[in-house]
Each structure stands twice: as C-alpha cells, then as structure tokens.
C-alpha cells in the first residue's frame, strides 16, 4: 500500500515535470516569435518616426547637430562612442559621425533645427537663415520657414502634375510612333510640360550648419523640411504616417538604400499569385491521379515517396533547374522562334516573371500534392460508394462528391505553397528577380501583363539593401521595415486563403475541414 502510494507520487511528479517541459517549450517558441516581430516592428516602423535632433557641444569647441543613432563601447575600456546621423554629406563627405562620449560637454535640442530632405546629397541639417522666392523676393528669419513650407507644398503639386503629364507623353513614344494625328496633341503636351518645369525653377534657401558653414540649396532640390524638436506628438504622428505611406507607395532611390518598396510589394504579390494559379491545378490533378485513379501498387508508392522527398530539395537546386530548363531551354527556343528580330538581346531567354513563377510552382508542387492527397484520403470510402451506388460514373463521383469535399484540403495545400513561395529568395536570383525594376510587370500597355519582364521582390530587396547598398547605416532601418512588410504580405496572402477555405468548408460541412 505504502509502496503503491509512493509510486503514484513519483509518477505524478514525473507527469508534472513533463507538463512543465511542454509548457516551457511552447512559451519559449512564442517568446522567440514575439521577439522577432517586436524587433522588426520597432526597428522597421521606428525609422519613420521623426527623431529629435541633438545639438552636441564638444570639448574642443566644435558643434554638431544630428540624430542620435546608437552608442557602442570602445575596445579595451576606452569609454563609449556615439553615432550621429548628421547629414550634410556635401559638407562633411559623410552622413554619419562617430563621437567619443567623453568629449561631449553638452547636449541640447533647440527647436529651430531644420532637417531638409534634398534630391541630391541626402539630408541637410542646420538653421534656416533666409529664403529667396522664385520671384526674387527675400525672406529672413522666422517668416522664411513659413515661406519654405508654402513653396514646398506648391512644388509637390507641380511635380505631381508633371509626372502625370510625362506619363501621357512618354508612354506613346515608347511604342512605335504613329505619324499624323498624334503630333499636335504631343506638341501641346510638351509645351505644357516645359511650362510646368519652368514654374518649378527659381529661388533658393540658405541653411546654416551648426558649425557656421552655409549651404545654398536651390528650392527645386528641396523635397521636405521639418523641425522635429519643435513638433508636437500629433505632428510627429502625421509625419510618421506620411513616411510609412511613402515607403509603401514609392519606388526605391539611392541604390535601394532609401525610398519605398512599392515595385517589390507588387512583384512579390503578383509572382505568388501567378505561382498559385500555375501550381494548384497541376498539384490537384496529380494528387487525384495518385489517390483515386492509379493502381495502388509498388510504383504508386514509389512515386508518392519521391514526391514527398522533392519537398525537401534545397530551393537553390530548383533555381538551377529553372535557369537551365525554363530560361535557357524553353525561353531560348521561344526567342529563336518568335523574337529573332531582337536577338541577340533576349526576350524570354533571360530571367523573368514567368520563369520565376514556374520555378516556384515546381518548388511548391509537392506541398500541394501532399496536402490534397491527405484531404482525399480523409474522405470516407462510403461517400464514394454512395455516389457509385446511385449510378454515378467514376468521373461523376469525383467531380460531384469527392472534389467538393476535398476543396478545403486543396486550399490548405495552396496556403502552404503560398507561405513557402512568398519567402523564397534563392531560386529567384537565378530566374528573374532584379535589383531595380521600377516598372511593375502589370500596366496599361498591351498585353498588360508582361511575363517576360524582370521584377522586384521583397525578399531579394532585403538581401540587396542589407549587403549591396553603399550606405549600410542608412539601409538597415529599411531592411527591418522591408522584412516586417514581407511578413505582413505573407500573412495577408495566407489569411485570404484561410478565409476562402473557411468559407468553403462552411458550405461543404464539417467533415471536409
């Protein structure tokens, strides 16, 4: 009795440890995921928050103004060092300055420091001393700030009008120009464009850096200006929202270390959609054949095992296959047959959207096959026999009973395929992703969807900005932001598919889930 009691206690203790272990690993995994998301969110989204500009006095009497980026310890205990983003690359030769903490005597945040974003040389930081309007009128001191903001708003709307007009003029010129009736319209548009461009010229502003040097900036070079130290939280929030919106809606600038990622978002989503359209029918048909049609013998088992193993092949191998077969093989042949006028410059014989989608479709094919097959196997044979017993042929049984019930499983396969394909970068580098392809592969130009074009991809954009950009310090926040965006894009794609599946399983009853 006593022995039995002791044993029970030991056993329950062991059970307790098991439960703790299991709960601990769940907690650890969750924590790791949360940490990942938190890092991406804070580093990525924090970048767009207007940071305060510090005015730093140094021992030797020098001054500098900039955004505090981070502080690191110096080797061998020689104190710490701070990195400031000081801008003014045209004055200093660099946008960044390292300062030993020990040499700093005072730090303040005067509200009149201006951060000016320019088309060339990046940011300028200093005090606005005067502004000369395009009309030649001069404004000094505080009124200059208001005048600058007014002019910047004006310039933004002018720029918008110009870009719209340019599209109208340039696009027809890319196509073989039809003579005649187009010409007068073009002439008028060109005149209007020249007018707009003239209206944007003129005027300049003087920005005095904290060390007293002066920067003369032509007004048409200025993009945006703000005084972060003087901004209220609400103003900062608006600036943050604008920054995020520009990141999402604009194309990249400065060798992918600045600007937005719109072409990359578009390329990623379009490529994944094309991939889904390509992979789902093939995968589903293959699964139907394997599970419903083929004789369940040794050969079928071998094929099934092979398919499952294909899911484990490293993705770069698929990239090599895509390059050899799709790009050089099929693409090269297509070029010889249909595009020999443009040879030797390739049309389809180089990486492009179609080949990338096909390669990823191949990569995710096993996922779709396995998921669909599992769904088919879950359908009870009684359902099949029930249909046959009512006089259905095998095809009718498949299309009217089995496939509707397996639809959620097919969508599960598609979800898994999307999740895998959207994050895949390695094979894309071989079959069509580009560092910079500002033209998205879908536009108003016949045939609208340009399958042969190279495209941008969020995953590759991260890789490129992090490692290949000139200015790593500038690119890092964008890398975090892009990574966060990639996670969100995959999440949205998955949620869409899950919503679709839920909708369908509602229609087909509980078992089909």
């Amino acid at each position: 009795m006593r022995w039995a009691f002791g044993s029970r206690a030991r056993r329950s203790r062991r059970e307790g440890i098991g439960a703790w272990l299991a709960a601990g690993s769940v907690a650890l995994s969750l924590l790791a995921l949360l940490a990942l998301l938190a890092l991406l969110t804070i580093r990525g989204l924090g970048h767009f928050w207007p940071a305060p500009i510090a005015l730093v006095m140094l021992e030797d009497g020098r001054q500098l103004a900039g955004e505090h980026v981070r502080e690191v310890p110096l080797p061998e205990g020689e104190g710490r060092e701070r990195l400031y983003r000081t801008g003014n690359r045209d004055l200093e030769g660099s946008r960044w300055q390292w300062v030993p903490v020990s040499s700093i005597t005072a730090v303040s945040h005067p509200p009149d420091l201006v951060v000016l974003e320019r088309r060339r040389w990046g940011e300028a930081i200093g005090r606005l001393t005067s502004l000369q309007r395009e009309t030649g009128e001069r404004v000094e001191g505080e009124p200059a700030w208001a005048a600058l903001n007014a002019r910047l708003a004006e310039l933004a709307s002018l720029r918008q009008a110009r870009d719209a007009l340019r599209e109208e003029i340039i696009l027809p010129q890319v196509r073989p120009l039809e003579e005649g009736d187009e010409a007068p319209r073009l002439e008028a548009a060109n005149a209007r464009l020249r007018e707009l461009q003239a209206a944007m010229q003129g005027g300049h502003l003087i920005l005095e850096a904290v060390d007293g040097r002066r920067l003369e900036v032509p007004l048409e070079q200025a993009r945006r200006a703000r005084r972060p130290n003087g901004m209220s939280s609400l103003e900062k929030l608006v600036a943050w929202g604008n920054g995020v919106w520009r990141f999402l809606s604009e194309g990249p600038r400065a060798a992918n270390t600045a600007g937005g990622v719109w072409p990359a978002i578009f390329g990623t989503v379009l490529m994944v959609m094309l991939m889904s359209i390509l992979v789902t029918p093939f995968g589903v048909l293959a699964a139907i054949y394997l599970n419903e049609v083929a004789h369940q013998g040794r050969l079928t088992r071998l094929v099934r095992i092979s398919v499952r193993n294909l899911a484990g092949v490293p993705s770069i191998v698929y990239g090599v296959f895509g390059l050899g077969v799709f790009v050089y093989g099929i693409g090269g042949t297509l070029d010889e047959w249909f595009f020999d006028a443009t040879l030797p410059s390739p049309t389809f014989g180089t990486g492009g959207l179609l080949w990338a989608s096909l390669t990823l479709a191949l990569l995710t094919l096993p996922v779709v096959i396995v998921a669909t097959e599992e769904g088919l196997a879950r359908i009870p044979d009684q359902q099949r026999e029930g249909a046959l017993a009512l006089g259905a042929t095998r095809l009718e049984m498949l299309t009217r009973v089995v496939l509707p019930m397996a639809t959620p499983a097919m969508l599960t396969g598609m979800i898994l395929a999307v999740a895998r394909a959207a994050g895949e970068v390695a094979p894309l580098m071989l079959v069509g992703v580009a560092k910079l392809a500002p033209q998205v592969p879908l536009d108003g130009d016949f045939p609208f969807l340009h399958l042969e074009r190279k495209f941008m991809h969020l995953g590759y954009h991260i890789f490129d900005a992090a490692l290949h950009g000139g200015d790593v310090e500038a690119a890092m926040p964008l890398v975090y932001a892009t990574a966060l965006l990639l996670v969100l894009v995959i999440l949205v794609l998955n949620l869409t598919a899950i919503f679709l599946r839920h909708h369908l399983s509602m229609r087909h009853g509980a078992l089909a889930r």
Partner: protein
C-alpha cells in the same frame, strides 16, 4: 440460355425452396469470389424472389456483405477481387459485355451500414441521382424528391427544411434520407447492408417498418447480424457460413425448424 434450363451443380446446401425464373428478380449461379488469396464466397447458387424481403444472415466474415456487394458490382473498384460465376438480373447477366455498370447500379440500389449522406442539402442529396441522369424538369424533379422522401417516411420531418445540410439530421433520419436518395432513381432491387446497425431502437423500428412497406414496390435484400431483425422483416432467409450457402428457405421455417445442425447451432446462439 435461361437459367431454368441450365443444369444445377451439385450443392451441399439445403435449399428448402427454389423459385421459378419468372418469380425471381436476381439469380446467382455458382458465384465464387476471392480477395487476393482469401476466398470469400464459394460456389453460391440461389435465386432471390421479386417483391419480397430476403435476408442474409451468418457469423462475421461469412461473406454476406461480400455477396451483397457482388449484386451491384461494387467490387469492381477493388483490383484484388477475383470473381467467378454469374449473377442474373431479370434475365440479364450483370457482368455481360453490354451492361453499363452505372445503369446497373441505378437499377440495383444500395444502402450502407453507416448513413452516408453527401455534404449537401437534404434536397440535393435526394436529387443527386436524378441530376446524374439529367433530362428532368425542375418541377418533375421536385415531385420525385417529394415522392422519394414520402416513400422513405421522412417527408413530414424535413419538408420545412429541404435546404438544410443533410448532416444536420439525426442518424436514423440520415439513413432514411439515404434510402430516399436511392429510391429516387427508381431501382428494381434495393440492397441493404446492415442498415440499422448504427441506429437506436426507435430509428431501427422505423427502418424495419419502411422495409416492410417497400416490398410492394421492389425487391429487397437485407444483410443483418441481428436474427430478430431478420425474423421480423424478411420473407426468406439465407444462412451463410465460411462463404458457403448453408441453408435457404422461408424465414418462418428456417428459424423454427432448421434442417441442418449448423443452422440450428447458429440461430440458437450456440455458435457465433
């Protein structure tokens, strides 16, 4: 050659009865069937009377379900099944060259052990077979669905919710729905494979009553492991053991006065 004129092979079974070819709906002649190496049916020969209920009884694994499934060629799906012998439906060999298997299965309907309604509405379940055949106006189809549901004694319970999912019905209702679904395509023979084994007693009674009522319209073949059920609903009973037909006769006689010791042992529960 009509079955009646063919010489009958010598049989070990004790047939208490034989039907004339005119009175029988199905005629099974020297039917053997094997799953790979396993012999499931051995040289069965019997006739099943038209517009009567015939029950197959016997211990588990005796081949009674296998025999039932041989009557509408459901074994065709299984590559491992090897069949010898013949099954005649109204004077036509069902394995013959000219027989369309889908048409055969329409004529010989089947209800399975577990209710297997499709994941669709009640209406769509009953209309499933009708839609396969096509060529029916919506009005005609509605009428047939109602007729089939009435024939399966389900109409009053579901007429208000024909668009509801069939899976929302109770087990007994589902089984009657499956019977209605089968009746809707107008079969001549209805095969029932332990149709009440998954149901509660009240649902079972309803199914049994339904079986008794349906025999005025079609031939029913019932497989059951429940001897009371066989005694309650069937007109004729065949006792199978180890894939052989042991005894076949009118239900009353077989249960009260079996001719063979093996039958007696089984029905009195001395052997399972």
């Amino acid at each position: 050659m009509p079955i009646a004129q063919q010489p009958r092979p010598p049989s070990k079974s004790a047939a208490l009865i034989d039907f004339s070819p005119e009175a029988s709906s199905l005629a099974i002649r020297d039917l053997s069937l094997a799953y790979g190496e396993t012999q499931a049916l051995r040289h069965l020969t019997l006739r099943i009377p038209r517009h009567r209920v015939t029950a197959f009884i016997g211990p588990s694994g005796c081949g009674k379900s296998t025999l039932l499934r041989a009557l509408n060629r459901l074994h065709d799906l299984n590559d491992a099944v090897v069949r010898q012998g013949e099954v005649w439906l109204e004077g036509e060999e069902i394995h013959g060259r000219g027989v369309a298997v889908a048409e055969l299965r329409r004529r010989v309907g089947m209800v399975f052990q577990a209710p297997n309604p499709f994941p669709m509405s009640i209406y769509d379940n009953v209309a499933f077979g009708l839609r396969l055949q096509g060529g029916l106006s919506k009005r005609k189809r509605d009428d047939t669905v109602e007729w089939a549901l009435r024939a399966a004694a389900l109409w009053d319970e579901v007429k208000e919710r024909l668009r509801a999912s069939a899976w929302s019905l109770s087990g007994g209702q589902q089984q009657r729905l499956v019977i209605a679904r089968t009746l809707a395509v107008g079969p001549e023979v209805l095969l029932l494979d332990e149709p009440a084994s998954a149901l509660d007693p009240i649902s079972t009674l309803k199914i049994e009553e339904l079986i008794r009522n349906l025999k005025s319209q079609l031939t029913l073949v019932l497989v059951t492991h429940n001897m009371q059920q066989a005694a309650r609903v069937s007109d004729y009973t065949a006792f199978l053991q180890d894939g052989e037909l042991v005894e076949y006769g009118p239900t009353d006689t077989l249960f009260t006065n079996p001719r063979l010791r093996r039958t007696e042992n089984y029905i009195t529960g001395r052997m399972t």
